[in-house]
């Protein structure tokens, strides 16, 4: 909690004879993050990269074949439902017996399909060329083979009159019209000019014989036949998919594991007799894997522990309570925390849904989003998608809770008055009772901003001690305290000059000098001390002081975005119900029924649009308040992802 999981850095050295056992054991435990070995020089007496285990290339080529079959059948292992785990020995057996037959069949089918596709394309092309000629009553062989005559065939804008001896056929039944003209060779040029004047575009005569209409029909038939053939092949591929998906994904998984294991030595350092590897394991499981490795190799292994010198090199794995772990996806979008810094996931997990609810506090929209977050689970299979949906679930529950407090249901009021602040605007004269408490809401948002940013700065002080050492740590911590002092100094000075609702009123305190009272002086002292605190670390930071105001005011979006969503909902309700449906229901006429249907349509489309806007507004703005206003105060990020060597087997078992 609030810290990434502790890691220990191990150095493992094994004789070459034990390498297979060690890799197998490490892979099975799936907790060892390998630090890839990078050779420093090419000289032969230095350590060098290991060679893959025997069998690596066989496994790799088998894997490529399996992936090709999966590709042809359209199988995506990530989205396959797990039915039962097949024992690895059985999978290996079937890789030998069944897989070659499946591969042959699939390869044959794919080859047939591409041949049929080529044929189909060819026939379609031919048919397209023949189409204009089918409009003229001439056989194709009549267009060629003349010595003393020239034949013009092509598209033309309109029929033309030709004033030399000729034979002409014209048809406007095809796109762009079709003309065929036969003239003696000596009149060729002038006829060509006449034709070109009317926008003549020559098209070549297809190299075929017979009536164009018949040929056209036969090409179309053949193209259709090829299409049926392709559909048949696809059908058979689908059958193979239905029959063999389980086997194929199991083969894929097993072979991927084989390849990863066989290629692991490429990430190790070797001497003549030994392999050496460096890596990371979680603190609480380090002893377990040490014991397991020693047992598997009968003690023919050296495992040492190295000190952690650079925190940027440590792989980072989150350690959060289960309700907060989906929020890790929001952290990863920004940056994973560094190993030694605070992990704010827990805070984001709590505050993000609250912000979302404050913005989109509406029972109706919350319920729709809740249903959506459960409904989409069927379609989103990946881990990240699932995590995002969990965040959405929490957010929409918070939205429903705030909807009850605000008394809002699709923009309309629930049967009770708003329990906290009233957001019902006066649209269409519908809202009675209390006017909306906009100012109070704004000040509430500003308070949230002040507290959130103060929290961020306090975390900054904690982080400064973790990320820096010695004097720099103290300086950075004081600078963060300086930022807090500056902000609160400004606040206290404002309070001493103006009375603001929901904030302390300090205007009544005794005046000290020049019309300024005690609070103003205290505020000024805090402000100056704060500025000095910031400047002692880096004077250039002082240009950032205006961001104190802009960042705090930025929290006003919690109210502003929410109110705009309320306004849209109320306007939709007013147009649909108040203007279209209600007046018609009082006296129903045929036209009125149409208007009522239209009104219902407006209601649905409007609220669907507003749900999307609310999701986008509530989600993105809450996220942005965290990333831009909160994280910039303390968070560095840039940790490496913890990626243990091994896999969670889904389809096979050892």
């Amino acid at each position: 909690m609030l810290r990434p999981e502790g890691m220990r850095r191990l150095l493992i050295a094994v004789p070459k004879g034990e390498i297979d056992t060690v890799i197998r054991e490490l892979y099975r435990h799936n907790i060892y993050h390998i630090e890839d070995f990078v050779p420093e020089s090419e000289s032969p007496d230095e350590l060098s990269i290991g060679h893959p285990l025997p069998g690596a290339s066989d496994a790799a080529s088998a894997l490529i074949k399996v992936r090709a079959i999966e590709n042809a059948c359209g199988i995506d292992p990530d989205s396959v439902e797990i039915k039962e785990k097949i024992p690895a020995s059985k999978v290996r057996e079937r890789i030998r017996t069944d897989l070659p037959a499946i591969q042959k069949e699939v390869e044959g089918l794919v080859a047939t399909r591409s041949k049929l596709e080529a044929q189909k394309k060819e026939h379609e092309q031919r048919a397209k060329e023949l189409e204009p000629f089918a409009a003229l009553p001439l056989d194709l062989e009549l267009y060629r083979g003349y010595i003393r005559f020239t034949v013009f065939t092509g598209h033309i804008r309109h029929d033309v009159a030709i004033d030399v001896p000729h034979e002409k056929y014209f048809s406007d039944r095809v796109d762009g019209n079709m003309i065929a003209v036969v003239v003696p060779n000596e009149h060729r040029e002038e006829v060509e000019r006449t034709l070109l004047d009317s926008g003549f575009q020559a098209i070549p005569v297809p190299e075929e014989a017979g009536a164009p209409a018949d040929r056209l029909k036969s090409h179309i038939d053949e193209a259709r036949e090829a299409t049926t053939g392709i559909a048949g092949v696809n059908q058979r591929l689908a059958e193979i998919r239905d029959r063999h998906t389980d086997l194929l994904v199991a083969c894929d998984e097993l072979l991927t594991a084989d390849v990863e294991r066989a290629e692991a030595p490429l990430r190790f350092a070797t001497t003549e007799e030994t392999f050496i590897t460096e890596g990371w394991v979680p603190e609480d499981r380090a002893d377990g894997i040490r014991a397991a490795l020693e047992k598997a190799t009968n003690g023919r292994i050296y495992i040492g522990e190295l000190a952690i010198d650079d925190d940027a090199k440590v792989p980072v794995e989150y350690e959060n309570p289960s309700f907060a772990s989906p929020t890790q996806v929001l952290m990863d979008i920004y940056a994973r925390p560094r190993y030694s810094e605070l992990d704010p996931t827990l805070m984001v997990a709590i505050v993000y849904p609250i912000f979302f609810g404050l913005i989109l506090g509406d029972v109706g929209y919350g319920a729709i989003l809740l249903a959506l977050s459960f409904g989409l689970r069927k379609f989103l299979k990946g881990d990240e998608g699932r995590m995002l949906l969990s965040v959405l679930t929490y957010s929409s529950i918070s939205s429903i809770i705030f909807g009850v407090l605000y008394s809002e249901f699709f923009g309309a009021a629930l049967p009770w008055p708003a329990l906290i602040f009233n957001r019902h605007l006066n649209i269409g004269g519908a809202a009675g009772g209390h006017p909306p408490q906009i100012t109070e809401l704004m000040i509430l948002a500003i308070w949230i901003g002040i507290l959130h940013i103060t929290l961020g700065r306090i975390l900054g002080m904690v982080n400064a001690r973790k990320l820096h050492h010695g004097r720099h740590a103290a300086k950075a911590a004081i600078a963060n305290a300086g930022w807090i002092g500056t902000m609160w100094g400004i606040l206290i000075m404002i309070w001493s000059l103006y009375a603001i609702p929901l904030m302390p009123d300090l205007t009544g305190l005794p005046v000290v000098a020049m019309g300024f009272n005690v609070a103003a002086v205290v505020g000024a002292v805090l402000l100056v001390a704060g500025i000095l605190g910031i400047a002692q670390e880096n004077a250039l930071e002082l240009v950032e002081i205006p961001t104190i105001i802009s960042h705090v005011l930025s929290y006003a979006r919690l109210v502003a975005v929410g109110l705009s969503s309320v306004a849209i909902a109320m306007v939709v309700n007013f147009i649909a119900i108040g203007m279209l449906i209600q007046p018609q229901i009082e006296a129903i006429t045929p036209l009125g029924v149409i208007l009522i249907i239209f009104g219902v349509l407006v209601l649905f489309v409007g609220h669907a649009l507003n749900t999307a806007l609310g999701l986008l507004g509530g989600g993105l703005h809450s996220l942005r308040l965290h990333y831009v206003e909160f994280f910039t105060k303390f968070y560095k990020g840039g940790g490496k992802k913890y990626n243990p060597f091994g896999m969670k087997s889904k389809f096979t078992e050892e």
Partner: protein, 82 residues
């Protein structure tokens, strides 16, 4: 020229109208400003996403950063109206 006589109601009504115009200008002009600011970021973001799908989350965020401008406009408008 006849003297223009304004009753109290007329003055109040015109003040209300001025407030509404002010609120409209506050939202409209800041909206345009946000649009201009987001234009360049958005197009760069689409380009970056086309190169590398992983940056989608980050660039989506960068794109909404100028939204603050219009939020301030909205805040001012709301304060004017209520």
């Amino acid at each position: 020229m006849a003297d223009v006589v304004m009753t109290l109601e007329m003055v109040q009504a015109s003040q209300l109208g001025m407030k509404a115009i002010g609120a409209g200008l506050a939202v409209g002009l800041t909206g345009i400003a946000s649009g201009i600011a987001e234009m360049a970021i958005g197009s760069a973001a689409v380009g970056a996403t086309a190169e590398n799908r992983d940056v989608f989350g980050l660039v989506l965020l960068l794109t909404v950063i100028p939204e603050t401008i219009v939020i301030f406009g909205l805040v001012v408008a709301l304060l004017l109206l209520f």
